[in-house]
């Protein structure tokens, strides 16, 4: 009997949990997603505290292209610089470029998506047709085009990532706005005369948040690959920067001589992108937004 009441009590406790706790419990059950969450957290800490054993631009011509060792975990590059330190610094660059670019794209895209989905009519048509045109170009080509116009450099890579993220967010937010608008409470608020702006941001926007979080996470992964690709092609960071893509680009010349120069920066890109993608998958399963 006693056991029984204990179980009952536990069940009652469970019922009073807030949705936030319930969601995190659901999320933590997914092992892969949890691991990737902590991995991303680890990367962020790395980016903030920069535990670099060497100065990233400290050259050492007596020790160039050396293999990974106890001294230089990931080896050294053609100027004898410590690759591990440069990769750690590169974490900061990559995450900053991706986060700033995607955030700007998400903000602008969400606003456009809310407008298109809420007001419909001509604004929707103009916004969505423009999105269709932008989305018709493969992502990387669009980014190359943008960088070709505004010139190379990391800042411009951020701008390119922001611009080509806009249509994606616009589309997703518009479709969830349309879905939420159909719900009863929005109609009810409308009928009692709540202002458009208040309705948009108080009632409709919160409903689009799950979809926003999921695609935001996924886009971060894409953005990191795009930034690295641009740098690799020579449109992004200058080769002297400890940017992962630029490191690969200069390491290319030493293929066969110093494969570690290629292996580690690429591995960093791969694991980071994988982390964001798996985290996005886990979030999608947990939050279950209706993405089209």
């Amino acid at each position: 009997m006693k056991v029984n009441t204990e179980i009952k009590k536990k069940q009652e406790d469970y019922k009073f949990e807030s949705p936030m706790i319930e969601l995190s419990r659901k999320f933590l059950k997914k092992k892969v997603a949890t691991v990737s969450f902590f991995f991303i957290l680890f990367l962020i800490i790395l980016a903030i505290f920069q535990p670099t054993p060497y100065d990233i631009s400290q050259t050492d011509y007596s020790n160039t292209l050396s293999k990974p060792s106890a001294e230089h975990w990931f080896g050294t590059d053609e100027y004898g610089r410590d690759i591990f330190s440069r990769i750690v610094y590169g974490t900061k660059l990559s995450l900053t470029v991706a986060i700033v670019g995607v955030t700007v794209g998400a903000v602008i895209g969400s606003i456009l998506g809310l407008i298109a989905g809420y007001y419909r009519g001509i604004p929707e048509m103009i916004i969505m047709r423009t999105c269709d045109v932008l989305l018709a170009f493969p992502g990387l080509l669009l980014a190359i085009g943008i960088v070709a116009i505004i010139g190379p450099g990391l800042i411009n890579v951020v701008i390119a990532i922001a611009i080509y993220g806009i249509p994606n967010f616009t589309r997703i937010i518009r479709s969830s706005t349309l879905a939420i608008k159909e719900l009863l409470y929005v109609e009810a608020s409308q009928s009692i005369g709540v202002s458009d702006l208040r309705l948009l941001f108080k009632h409709i926007f919160p409903g689009t948040v799950p979809a926003l979080i999921v695609s935001y996470t996924m886009r971060l992964g894409t953005a990191i690959i795009t930034a690295a690709s641009l740098s690799f092609l020579g449109f992004g960071a200058s080769p002297s920067n400890p940017d992962w893509g630029a490191m690969l680009s200069s390491g290319r010349n030493y293929i066969g001589i110093a494969p570690h120069m290629l292996f580690y920066p690429g591995l960093a890109i791969f694991l980071t992108v994988l982390g964001f993608n798996l985290l996005g998958d886990g979030l999608r399963d947990t939050l279950d937004p209706k993405l089209d």
Binding site: V133, A136, F137, P138, G139, L140, L141, I144, G145, A148, I149, G151, G221, I225, A228, S229, F232, L233, G234, L248, G251, R252, I255, G256, P259, L262, F263, P265, G266, I269, F270, V273, L274, N277, L278, D281
Partner: protein, 306 residues
């Protein structure tokens, strides 16, 4: 069916028109003066002005656009600003490697992606399914230029099985094609898997089992035909990825294709070449979309072409 294809081809004309305007504006937004570039550093101001006049750069945008379009349509694509050669002579030989790479890649990656997806779906929850899912997530997250460099390091440099760079027979396409197709295979495998899992729950699958059909026929005849309808749309989207990816792969493996030409031309502001390559890319993209739409209809009897 034929009427539909003709209609779609006619529909491409206004789209190409809009795209040509976009490309024209895009080219003219790229900073830098092509005349100065062509004339060289030692050229005087007068020489540059003369060149500008000759190239029509002093005309209004409308006149320039008209000249550009007339040139495009009559096959007079102008001369490269970098080499001075007719653009056609530069572009046409570059098409072959890009096309071979694209066709090669799409064929193997679509077939293997679908096969892997099916195997994963019918073994759902078993270890082979987990291996496939981990592989697919990794494939999607792999930066393909890195994959290319790693493959090159192992198979060309260390094992010497394939040439490192450049084109030397069909063998040279193996590593680039694996590089380009890995992500596509992963995407298609993932999509096929989830589509198959849903379809295997359908009532008509139960019917075909109740008929006594073997599981092989149930999966490969009844389920696969339905899931191909879903998969084909994703395959269509992969072509965009293929175009963008070929730019990177051609850079990594030093393949003299259109993608590499585009990058080099943008870096050099060789805008006559850039605009031609972009128009070819767009045209290619539209044709592929048309093929995908037609295939979609072939697999889905509910679609009627009128």
């Amino acid at each position: 069916m034929r009427g539909y294809i003709v209609k779609r081809l006619l529909n491409m004309i206004p789209i190409m028109f809009v795209v040509s305007i976009v490309i024209f504006l895009f080219i003219h937004m790229i900073p830098g003066d092509p005349a100065r570039l062509l004339a060289g550093h030692q050229a005087t101001f007068e020489e540059v002005e003369l060149l500008k006049e000759q190239m029509g750069l002093n005309n209004s945008y409308i006149v320039q656009y008209k000249d550009f379009m007339v040139g495009m349509l009559t096959g007079n694509w102008g001369n490269s600003l970098k080499t001075g050669l007719p653009v056609g002579d530069m572009v046409i030989p570059r098409m072959k490697p890009t096309l071979i790479l694209a066709i090669f890649t799409i064929v193997w990656s679509v077939i293997s992606g679908i096969a892997i997806g099916i195997i994963s779906a019918i073994n759902r929850g078993k270890w082979i399914d987990y291996v496939v899912m981990i592989g697919a997530s990794s494939g999607i997250s792999l930066p393909l230029f890195w994959l290319g460099l790693m493959l090159m390091q192992i198979f060309s440099v260390q094992l010497g099985w394939f040439p490192t760079t450049g084109i030397d027979g069909l063998k040279s396409y193996v590593l680039p094609s694996i590089t380009l197709g890995a992500g596509i295979t992963a995407m298609i495998a993932r999509y096929t898997r989830s589509s198959m899992i849903e379809i295997l729950k359908e009532n008509y699958i139960r019917t075909s089992r109740a008929k006594g059909l073997s599981e092989f026929i149930v999966v490969n005849r009844h389920a696969l035909r339905n899931s191909l309808i879903d998969v084909i749309t994703i395959v269509g989207l992969q072509f965009g990825f293929l175009l963008a990816g070929s730019v990177l792969v051609e850079t990594v493996f030093a393949i003299p294709g259109l993608g590499r030409l585009l990058i080099d031309s943008i870096l050099f502001r060789d805008y006559t070449v850039v605009q031609t390559v972009l128009l070819i890319f767009t045209f290619q993209f539209l044709i592929i979309n048309l093929i995908v739409d037609v295939l979609y209809g072939v697999f889905n009897p509910k679609i009627k072409y009128e």
